[in-house]
């Protein structure tokens, strides 16, 4: 199950630079691990994370097998208008996840 969360402050002044924090539940299989019976576990990592706010992309990351399980991101963006801050991600198996938080801009 795709599970993740995003956190931004609830209120901001227009143009204020605010922090967003993202945590995604994912095993981030590197492809190098083997099961007890010797079968290789296929690589499956979250390969893209993108965050949108006010109709534009404010953050994008491309990940590989060097990122730990359950990746955590913190980044800053300029709050332009009230609305959802939405982060989306997709892994190598094609499973997508989405989480959003609301910010009120005054």
């Amino acid at each position: 199950m795709a599970l993740g969360r995003i956190q931004v402050q609830a209120m901001a002044r227009r143009g204020e630079v605010v922090e967003a924090r993202v945590l995604i539940r994912h095993a981030m299989e590197t492809g190098f691990r083997r099961e007890a019976d010797g079968r290789a576990v296929p690589m499956n990592v979250v390969n893209t994370v993108a965050c949108r706010h006010a109709g534009r992309e404010v953050f994008r990351a491309e990940l590989g097998s060097g990122i730990s399980a359950n990746p955590y991101f913190a980044f800053w963006f300029r709050a332009e208008e009230s609305g959802e801050v939405t982060v989306e991600w997709v892994d190598d198996a094609g499973e997508r996840g989405v989480a959003s938080a609301r910010i009120e801009v005054s």
Partner: protein
């Protein structure tokens, strides 16, 4: 004189029944670096919170959810995890928190038991344990729980494995020293289920205990084994009064 001798005998018997605990008792967080301490304390970044969130969803999922009997977990489950493992009169045996959840599933919900270390089992246990965060460990080791407690107490002092060590040799005699680069904790079970960085996932206390068996090169008991349960009960008694911190973060 006779009274004095009897008193001395009593004191000895009491000492044998209740072996000394580390003084002062220090939680596992005391032996963590600043980064992991901060990660555990941060309710957003603590990865264990992802399992808690999943457990919260599971709590009210299904045809006959946990919430149907227990209602709001914040109220009904408060302090529950601090009392486990305990003797369950209905089941007639000592169970840990995960075992009690399984008994609810098979006995009341008509669901199959959950596999050890399955995400669902860990999530429910983490969610229930979360409701007792900050409350002191307080298990009962009297009455019908006594034989299990005594088994755990004796196992704790039994040398095992190729390294021929007992729990007590590290966690009573050498806590605060280092094992290679890692500080040795007092081995209190307050953080579990905990997110262990080495595992990159949440795991139960039984998984952590198995890792200790592996560490001293002993045969690892299976999940749910009586030895592991007895150790869990003994450790909970030994850590009495320390605050629960699940979901903890550990190395």
């Amino acid at each position: 004189m006779r009274a004095l001798a009897a008193l001395a005998l009593c004191a000895c018997a009491a000492a044998a029944a209740a072996p000394p605990r580390p003084e002062p008792p220090l939680p596992g967080t005391h032996f963590l670096g600043a980064d992991l301490k901060a990660l555990q304390a941060d309710d957003f970044a603590n990865p264990g919170q992802l399992w808690v969130a999943r457990g919260e969803a599971l709590w009210s999922e299904g045809a006959k959810p946990c919430a149907a009997c227990h209602g709001e977990a914040a109220r009904s489950m408060r302090g529950v995890a601090a009392r486990y493992p305990r003797f369950d009169a209905g089941l007639g045996r000592v169970v840990n928190l995960e075992g009690r959840i399984d008994a609810c599933r098979t006995g009341h919900q008509g669901l199959p038991a959950l596999a050890p270390e399955s995400p669902e089992r860990l999530s429910l246990a983490a969610f229930v344990a979360r409701q007792s965060r900050g409350m002191p460990l307080a298990v009962s080791v009297d009455g019908l729980a006594r034989p299990v407690f005594e088994r755990g107490r004796d196992l704790y002092r039994t040398r095992i494995g190729q390294l021929h060590l007992a729990c007590t040799h590290c966690h009573d005699e050498r806590w605060g020293k280092t094992l290679l680069a890692e500080p040795i904790s007092q081995g209190h079970p307050t953080a579990w289920p905990a997110y262990r960085v080495e595992w990159q996932t949440l795991g139960s206390l039984q998984r952590r205990l198995r890792a200790c068996f592996f560490g001293v090169r002993a045969a690892m008991p299976a999940y749910g084994d009586g030895d592991l349960l007895a150790l869990e009960l003994y450790l909970a008694w030994r850590g009495e009064g320390l605050a629960l911190e699940s979901p903890g973060v550990r190395r």
